[in-house]
C-alpha cells in the first residue's frame, strides 16, 4: 500500500493536483476569508473528485495553509538572501538600506507573481488567525534572511529597552504585511489601473521604506 501524502515521492499527476489545490485555496481564502471556505469547497473548486483531497495531500486545512505560506516565503527568501549578502560587504548599513532589504524582496515577489494575486491577503489573514499567528511569526517573518539582516546593525539596539525593541519589531511586521495586503485588495477590486500594477507595487515599497524609517527613528532614536 502506498503511504499517503507528502511521504511518497509525488507522481506528476499528484504534484499537479497539489499545486491546483494550493492555488485554489489561496484564492478562495483571500477573497472570502478562512471562515467562509470549507476544505470541501476547495477540493471541488480545484476539480478534485475526491472530497478528502486536502486531507490526502496536506493532512489538514492547517497543513494546506502552511504549505502555501512556505511556497511564498521560499521565493521571498531567495531574493532577500542575495540582497543581505550584498550588504554584508559594507562597513556600515544605514536604516534605509536595512528597510530596502526588508521590503524590496517582497515587492519583487509580488511583481513576479503578476495579477490577479492573492498571497498578500492570504498572508495577512494567516497572521491574524489565532491558531496560526505564532507559526507565521516564527516560520515566515523571523526567517534566516531577516535574522542575518538584523545582525548588520541597520537598526539601533544600543540603549533601547528590550520591550520597546520587541514592540518596534511587531509594528514593522504588522505595517508591512497589512500594507501589501491592502494594495493587493485594491488591485483585485479594480481600484487601480491594471497597467499601473508594477508601478503601484514599487511605489508602495518606497512609501513603506520611508514610513518605516520615520517610525523607527522616532521610536528608537537615530542610529
Amino acid at each position: 500500500m502506498t503511504p499517503p501524502g507528502p511521504a511518497a515521492p509525488p507522481s506528476p499527476r499528484s504534484a499537479l493536483a497539489r499545486d491546483k489545490l494550493m492555488r485554489t485555496a489561496e484564492r478562495l481564502y483571500a477573497e472570502h476569508g478562512f471562515a467562509n471556505v470549507s476544505v470541501r469547497q476547495i477540493s471541488e473548486a480545484a476539480g478534485q473528485r475526491n472530497n478528502s483531497a486536502v486531507q490526502y495531500h496536506f493532512e489538514s486545512r492547517d497543513g494546506l495553509i502552511k504549505t502555501i505560506l512556505s511556497s511564498h516565503t521560499q521565493l521571498v527568501e531567495k531574493h532577500r538572501i542575495a540582497m543581505v549578502e550584498a550588504l554584508r560587504g559594507q562597513d556600515t548599513v544605514s536604516l534605509e538600506e536595512h528597510y530596502r532589504c526588508l521590503i524590496l524582496p517582497t515587492v519583487e515577489h509580488h511583481i513576479e507573481a503578476g495579477t490577479p494575486a492573492w498571497s498578500a491577503r492570504f498572508f495577512a489573514q494567516a497572521l491574524v488567525e489565532p491558531a496560526l499567528r505564532d507559526y507565521v511569526l516564527q516560520e515566515h517573518l523571523d526567517t534566516p534572511s531577516y535574522r542575518l539582516l538584523n545582525e548588520l546593525g541597520g537598526i539601533r539596539r544600543d540603549g533601547v529597552r528590550p520591550e520597546l525593541f520587541a514592540r518596534h519589531g511587531t509594528m514593522v511586521r504588522q505595517l508591512s504585511v497589512h500594507a501589501f495586503a491592502e494594495l493587493e485588495y485594491d488591485l483585485a477590486n479594480g481600484r487601480i489601473d491594471p497597467a499601473a500594477t508594477e508601478d503601484s507595487w514599487r511605489t508602495l515599497g518606497q512609501d513603506l521604506i520611508t514610513a518605516l524609517c520615520g517610525l523607527t527613528t522616532a521610536l528608537l532614536g537615530p542610529l
Copy 2:
C-alpha cells in the same frame, strides 16, 4: 405573534441573553478565529438552549459581529468626541495632539474594559475578514470623531498627493488596530505581569503616538 429580534422592545431576559451571546462570541472569536467557531458553539457556550439564538437575536453571524463592533465603537467615540471638542478651541493642533486624540480614547476604553478582554483581537480579525473589511473601515474607523479630528489640521494635507494621503491613512489604521490586538494577545497569554496591565496600555498608547508622529512626518513632510 411577537416579531423576532431587534424590532421588538427587548425584555430584560432577552437583553441579558443578547449581552451574553455578544460577550461569548467576542471571546470565542478572539481566541479561536472566525473560522473555528460556529454560531451553534456560541449559543451553547452562552447557555442558550435554542441553537438558533444567534439568528433570533442578531439575524446572522455578521449581524452579531456588527453589533459587537458597534458596542465598542460607541464607547470609544464618547471619549474621542470629548477630546476633539476640547481641541477645537485651540488656534492650531499639533501632530502629537492629533495622535493623542486618535489613540488615547482607545487606550482608555481598554483600561476600562479590564482584563481578560477580547475586543482588540476581535476588531483586528474583523478588519482582515474580506466580507467585513469595508464595513469596519466605514463604520468603525471613519467615525464622526475621526472626521472631525481630521478637520482640525493636525495632519498635513497641502501639497500631498491624494493617493499618498489615502495610503498614509491606511497605514495609521492598520498599525493602531493591530498594535492594540498584539498587546491584548500578550496580556491574555500571560506574557505581561497582570499587575502592569494599565501601565502596559498607557505605554503602548505613548509608543504608538511616537511611532505615528515619526511615520507621518517622514511620509507627508512636516506640518
